[in-house]
Amino acid sequence: MKGPEPLIFELSRPGRRGSSVPSLDVPEAELPAELLRDDLPLPEVAEVDVVRHYVRLSQLNHAVDVGFYPLGSCTMKYNPKMNDAAAQLPGFAHTHPCQPDETVQGSLELMYRLQEALKALSGFDGISLQPSAGAHGEFAGMLVVRAHHLANDDQGRNVVLIPDSAHGTNPASTAMCGYETLEVRSDERGNVDLGDLARHCSERVAGMMLTNPNTLGLFDEHVLEIADMVHGCGGLLYGDGANFNAIMGIVKPADLGFDVMHFNLHKTFSTPHGGGGPGSGPVGVTERLAEFLPGPVVGREGTRYVLHCPPRSIGRMKAFAGNFAVLVRAYAYIRTLGATGLREASEVAVLNANYLRTELQLSYPIAVDRICMHEFVLAGPPANADEIHTMDIAKRLMDLGHSHPPTVYFPLIVPEAMMIEPTETESKETLDQFARDMRQIAEEACTEPELLKTAPHSTPVRRLDEVRAARHPILRYEPEDPPAAI
């Protein structure tokens, strides 16, 4: 069934109801007349309307349960179903966050075990499960950096160093902490340019945010020197854990000199992305920084688990303890795989990426020609396809129907970038199909460029007018406006 699905508001008919509500079994109290609203413009639809509408909408989505999803930097691995079964256990799902600690010992023990597991994998000494997402974890981590310097009465540090390959969240999180950002160049091998870093190192530096492996999918060949340089000028080294899926059981970030790092449980630890959230972004720190962690964290007193706030905490990042249902899923994943399974996941993520890189390098230019980690970056369309842009390739991939496109136009330092992360849960057959599709598109780019420039042709909608959306924003349903075209 193709064609546009009406808005749920457009399906509304006065008097229709999609749910039943218990009847009033207590005496009616007087309602405060002056406070009451007279109109509530929500839809009126039957339950069958609700189900058909949202099922039809769901069918307009690509998803990792439907097919390959090689979005670089997003780690779209398969989400094991038992994790959901664990999160839906009534004892976990139906507990209120304000219950006394003694009535939620099971939840607290699970959180404690997850803290310990993240410590074991990263080498850090303190973990807070509070942050709700990667960017939230970055913000928390950089506030910890700030708190550390303030505690040392080191007020002059107002700069954070960020490589030019970094995720946009890094400078944005830094700015939210009141810091100025200084960009550090990458060298031709995709590493941090040590000369440029040396020029920026000074007593003004609060720290550096480093993603390793970086967004080119490369493990920095000088990571130990970088750590020494940043520490040498009194700064702290922050690790963006977005790419932790490459190194579980391979290396512990704390051993490399990182002082703080966030984890993306929704990437590395297989919790479903839900269309863009919810996630969870715990933050880990070395021993000297643990007192600044956002609270509450879970501690153990004898056989009892308790929530407490670290002594010099930066404060809370959200209400209540954390995105608990996401934590359950991540813990179930870790418990199922163990140290060997997690290491195997990282090894195969890296193997898959290198295999695909080898295949695609035959038809596309690569940003940096090196062994990669869990992802790699192509430098745009084939050399002889002048009229074609990366976006055209992405759109054409949708027509072929096997795969979501890669991340495009990121990292910013590679013009026309295509960032590809296959993850460990894809088979060789899936990778081969993707390589065949990409080869076909490379040929079409030269022989039938129009086919790419007008793609996609077979999707529920075709290329959408983003300029119009931004110039004349329509951000909600307004009944008085006639629908654009239906």
């Binding site: 507990t95 400078p171 391979i250 959200k318 290329r463 909600r476």
Partner: protein
């Protein structure tokens, strides 16, 4: 257990193709002394064993399927119709990523647009974004937005002490690296008049919660006076509101709020010991370019067919980097979907009916408890579905006694204010039958 579909033959073929002899060769860039460290984790288990272990762990909790609870205080137990779980469990929603490629993400995009429209309907404001992590972070982003709208020149953010204490904590966390000065909540007994007195030309915003943390509702006259006072000083009014209450009560947009935020967990999302929840965020259209977070907008495709895209992203971190309105780069998409499904299923009349049930049951329970010897209702009318009672003994002792009777009592207010040792905040919703309410009354009488 492994989720890796790799075969031995496949591994050899792939290594051969890459031109290395072992997987270990792929990690040559990792400093050798630190490569392959020892990782101390429990031995892996099968799916059956892990689920058994976790079920045993979960059963150490006292859960709300097996006991009655009267906790609210920012997280609310409402009935979630079966359609909600059914829809959000659809793999196509559940396992999709951020809708970066609009042509194959119309499901998430349109559902988010519908969610935004419903939040506008509830709050009476013109624009709502795709959501924040929770109500507390939505408030913090609202304060930062007001600060940025006034170009970081006005430093005072006035917070009512009647805003949820954890929300106020989060505002302080979010603003600690800025020049924002959070004031207004130093003393608990501050009314709107005293907040108005603090507004001046250095104020970027004033924020209140209505119904407030203790359940009380402000009068429309007072709310309008507050909005007028804020606007007279060119400051913004931010209102934190319980979304179910908005089905019954005048929305923030109607009494002059510039920004409305709150916790949308009551709209179809389970309690889950505190998360994931969803912060809703709505504001006036004039401020949309300073708003944090994702927005979905309507447009057309090359054939003129209606479709939806992420829009106005020049505000966001992936474009604007250190000059972005916020670092946020996700929303609580699945929770927003749950809320949209919930609000569709409940609809115009159903949501109002739920709100009225909450109201009537709270007033019934409050009057029954107030009539008990030793107990006193201290909340002023009008209130919505939460109210404070003063107990004859410390609330912790009353709650311990209730727990042994299978009842999780109210929120012990001494947790935020040691002087309120004998007070608890009780909450009722449509899940409480009269029999449950009477059981609480009886148990309170017994534990006097």
């Amino acid at each position: 257990m492994t989720y890796v579909p790799l075969t031995d033959a496949g591994r050899e073929e792939m290594l051969d193709r890459i031109g290395v002899s072992s997987i270990g060769d792929l990690f040559a860039d990792v400093p050798r002394p630190h490569r392959y460290p020892r990782i101390e984790l429990p031995q892996p288990l099968s799916e059956m064993e892990v689920l058994r272990e976790l079920r045993e762990l979960s059963e150490r909790n006292v859960d709300l399927q097996h006991s009655i609870s009267f906790l609210g205080a920012g997280a609310y137990q409402h009935y979630v119709p079966s359609v909600v779980q059914h829809i959000i469990s659809r793999s196509e929603f559940y396992t999709a990523y951020t809708p970066y490629q609009a042509e194959i993400s119309q499901g998430t995009l349109q559902a988010t647009f519908e969610y935004q429209s419903m939040i506008c309907a509830l709050t009476g404001l013109e624009v709502a974004n795709a959501s924040h992590y929770d109500g507390a972070t939505a408030l913090a982003e609202g304060v930062l937005m007001a600060y940025n709208i006034r170009r970081a020149k006005r430093r005072k953010a006035i917070l009512s002490p009647r805003i949820h204490p954890e929300y106020r904590d989060v505002v302080r966390t979010y603003t600690q690296g800025t020049e924002v000065c959070v004031i207004g909540d130093e003393s608990v007994d501050v009314d709107l008049g005293e907040l108005i007195a603090q507004i001046d030309s250095d104020t970027c915003c004033v924020a209140i919660q209505n119904p407030d943390f203790l359940g009380e509702l402000e009068s429309i006259d007072q709310l309008r006076a507050l909005a007028n006072a804020a606007h007279a000083h060119d400051a913004l009014l931010i209102v934190v509101a319980y979304p179910i209450a908005l089905a019954l009560l005048q929305p923030p947009g109607a009494y002059g709020a510039d920004i409305a935020v709150g916790e949308a967990q009551p709209l179809g999302i389970g309690l889950n010991y505190g998360g994931p929840y969803i912060g809703y965020f709505a504001c006036r259209k004039a401020h949309v370019h300073k708003m944090a977070g994702r927005l979905v907008g309507e447009t057309v495709d090359v054939d003129g067919q209606r479709g939806y895209v992420l829009t106005l992203s020049a505000r966001e971190q992936h474009i604007r980097r250190e000059r972005a309105t916020s670092n946020i780069c996700t929303n609580q998409a699945l929770c927003a979907l749950a809320s949209a499904v919930y609000l569709s299923a409940l609809g115009r009349t159903g949501l109002r009916a739920v709100a009225e049930l909450c109201y009537h049951k709270a007033h019934y329970l409050a009057s029954r408890i107030d009539a008990l010897e030793g107990y006193e209702l201290t909340t002023r009318s009008p209130f919505f579905n939460e109210f404070v009672i003063r107990c004859p003994r410390p609330a912790s002792e009353i709650n311990a006694a209730l727990l042994s009777a299978g009842i999780i009592g109210g929120f012990d207010l001494s947790r935020f204010d040691p002087r309120r040792e004998a007070e608890m905040l009780l909450c009722t919703t449509e899940v409480h039958s009269r029999q449950m309410l009477d059981r609480l009354v009886h148990a309170l009488e017994e534990t006097r």
